[in-house]
């Protein structure tokens, strides 16, 4: 296949796992996204940061095949693609772990893990769910990711939020994901639990997956990210390599830089202690 040459084409010999260029998406007269470009490489973590309404969800929905972009190109392995459903994206190895996780609380961990892709054994009418190996695989896979679930038979509803995210990530990895899109995996979690999830994000990266990590919290993004794409009101405020930007600058950029300075200034004048540019960490 030929890689179309363009201005953002990188010097790397291999095409990026996933690459978008100049994406534009309209919802009626609303411009949800415009001019978004980014790349995701194997073993790299691309963080997409932005406040509410910045266009993060629209971007991941395009990446995961839920929406189609109105303009711009989307390439997988250097090859332009047009996904018409999330299934198409999944077939190309692009798995999305949504915030609400697609897990059934009353079902056990192993049943959830294989839901929709159950291993079977036997033939004809005796074809059955191979529960013995399902349990075994779940245990081994979770262990390989460093996830210690006390009991694969326990209902998912009894897991903590971080554990559920981790199981969902392990599931995507097991089912052959090459690109993992994580939608706000840490936003509903406490500090400790968020740390657990970040660890599994790193574990997935170390297994050679490309990760797209969507978050509004720069403190969660910075430790694991390699690239940071900052969105604001549907536009890119720039993409930075980790070496190009400090955590403080990232935070300031995300929070709207000048606006935040102004706010700090105003609060100062009111006699309140200035909160500084850092928003409180989630949880």
């Amino acid at each position: 296949m030929t890689v179309p040459t363009d201005t953002t084409a990188t010097t790397a010999p291999e095409p990026a796992l996933l690459e978008v260029e100049d994406l534009v998406k309209y919802f009626g007269s609303v411009i949800a996204l415009t001019g978004i470009s980014t790349t995701v490489r194997a073993g790299g973590v691309t963080c997409v940061l932005g406040d509410n309404g910045a266009g993060k969800s629209t971007l991941i929905k395009i990446l995961s095949g839920v929406f189609r972009q109105d303009r711009g190109t989307y390439r997988v392995d250097g090859e332009p693609v047009q996904f018409s459903s999330p299934r198409d994206a999944l077939d190309r190895g692009i798995a999305t772990v949504y915030q609400d996780l697609a897990m059934i609380p009353l079902m056990s961990v192993w049943r959830n893990f294989f839901l929709g892709s159950e291993p079977t054994k036997g033939f004809g009418p005796l074809r059955r769910f191979d529960v013995v190996s399902a349990r075994k695989i779940v245990r081994a896979e979770l262990a390989a990711m460093g996830i210690d679930i006390r009991d694969p038979d326990q209902p998912v509803g009894t897991l903590s939020g971080g554990e559920r995210q981790s199981v969902a990530i392990a599931r995507a990895v097991y089912f052959g994901a090459r690109v993992l899109i994580l939608d706000e995996p840490t936003s509903a979690l406490g500090v400790k639990q968020a740390g657990v999830v970040l660890r599994y994000v790193a574990a997935a990266r170390d297994r050679g997956l490309g990760v797209v990590f969507i978050t509004h919290n720069p403190h969660h993004a910075y430790p694991v990210g390699d690239h940071f794409l900052v969105l604001n009101r549907g536009q890119s405020l720039g993409e930075f390599a980790k070496s190009e930007i400090s955590r403080e600058d990232l935070t300031r950029l995300m929070a709207g830089g000048a606006e935040l300075d102004q706010l700090a200034h105003e609060l100062d004048r009111l006699g309140t202690a200035a909160p500084g540019p850092e928003p409180a960490p989630a949880g």
Binding site: A102, L115, A143, D148, P152, D153, G157, T158, E163
Partner: protein
């Protein structure tokens, strides 16, 4: 259940803990055996069944005799077949209020075709199955396509079938009852299969009991050991989530409605063959009894949880109570009160069990 790790043994890979995972919590590794049993959906019904049995056994010697058992297992058997199907449907997150009158519809189809039109009884039974599956598919497709609650969709089917049962029967036979199946061609071959008896320890049991056991066994196998079973729990537990991982949620639900209709066909045919006549107004009100049995058996009204064995035990509780009250020499009017109390207790127990099962163990 095969291949459970004994409590106390931690999964392999625990070693990773020390380095990879932070000390998230004080992990109590043993999952108590008690807890495992407590979160089984059948628990409440087993306890209830034992209590009801002991209660009536002390009141009546007939009740506890093997003859008595054969008597109270008889109503439990046909109810059990329906309760198992309804339990699967409820696990899949739906109701079917038309299931009761569907037993009349299927029976009437067999009766009318075999007696009024002289069909061979096998052909009539097969035609009845086709009718049942079509009704089930109609229920399922309506629920899936419209997104309306199955409660309201099947309530309309319930009313429509009730009207059809009476209207069509009256139009064809001039009365509201069809009888004379015993004279239909092929009846003698069908009778032992659906309405016969078998002898065990010198006591005659109805053959419907075997059908019930078979239905419960197959349903349990499907629920616990097939991928369709996994899908049923999933569509009942969280249909959008199930769909997003590739579970054919619509197909699963339509299949469940058709299964329920198939069970109604079996029960309707058993009734028609056994009594050789069918009243056009039977089955009304039974749909709630099926749901009661399924709920006593541990099904949650919200879906995603329950068991076929539990529903069968719920049917046994029903059979024991219905006959036990008579054996004990009480007025049968008390039965409904008893049933109501059982149902309330069952719902309260289920609620507790569910909370216990879902409680986050930190």
């Amino acid at each position: 259940m095969a291949a459970r790790t004994p409590p106390g043994i931690r999964p392999e890979g625990t070693v990773c803990m020390t380095t990879a995972a932070p000390p998230v919590d004080e992990r109590v590794a043993e999952i108590s055996r008690l807890r495992r049993i407590l979160v089984r959906p059948e628990l409440g019904s087993v306890v209830g069944a034992i209590a009801v049995f002991v209660f009536f056994a002390t009141q009546s010697s007939v009740f506890r005799s093997l003859d008595g058992v054969a008597i109270w297992l008889d109503p439990a058997s046909t109810l059990g077949i329906m309760a198992v199907a309804i339990a699967m449907l409820m696990i899949g997150g739906e109701f079917d209020l038309s299931a009761g009158v569907m037993t009349a519809t299927t029976g009437l189809v067999v009766m009318i075709l075999a007696t009024e039109y002289g069909w061979n009884i096998w052909a009539a039974i097969f035609a009845s199955l086709v009718v049942a599956l079509l009704i089930g598919a109609f229920n399922g497709v309506m629920v899936v396509k419209t997104g309306l609650p199955s409660f309201i969709v099947t309530l309309s089917t319930f009313l429509m079938l009730q009207g059809l049962n009476l209207g069509v029967t009256k139009a064809i036979t001039g009365t509201v009852q069809v009888s004379g199946l015993a004279k239909a061609p092929g009846y003698d071959a069908v009778k032992p299969l659906l309405a016969g008896t078998f002898t065990l320890f010198g006591v005659q049991f109805r053959v419907a009991i075997l059908w019930w056991i078979a239905v419960a066994a197959v349903a349990t196998w499907i629920l616990m050991r097939t991928k369709i079973g996994n899908w049923i729990f999933a569509v009942g537990g969280n249909a959008p989530a199930a769909r997003s991982v590739g579970v054919p949620a619509a197909g699963t639900k339509v299949g469940l409605f058709m299964t329920t209709a198939g069970a109604a066909w079996l029960v309707g045919t058993i009734g028609a063959v056994r009594f050789t006549s069918v009243q056009a107004n039977i089955g009304i009100g039974q749909e709630l009894i099926y749901i009661v049995a399924a709920v006593i058996g541990g099904c949650l009204l919200t879906g995603g949880y329950g068991s076929a064995i539990g529903a069968s035990i719920g049917a046994i509780v029903f059979g024991m109570a219905a006959n036990g009250i008579v054996f004990a020499g009480w007025d049968a009017d008390w039965f409904k009160l008893f049933l109501g109390v059982m149902l309330l207790l069952a719902v309260l127990t289920n609620n507790l069990v569910r909370r216990y099962a879902e409680e986050v163990r930190r």
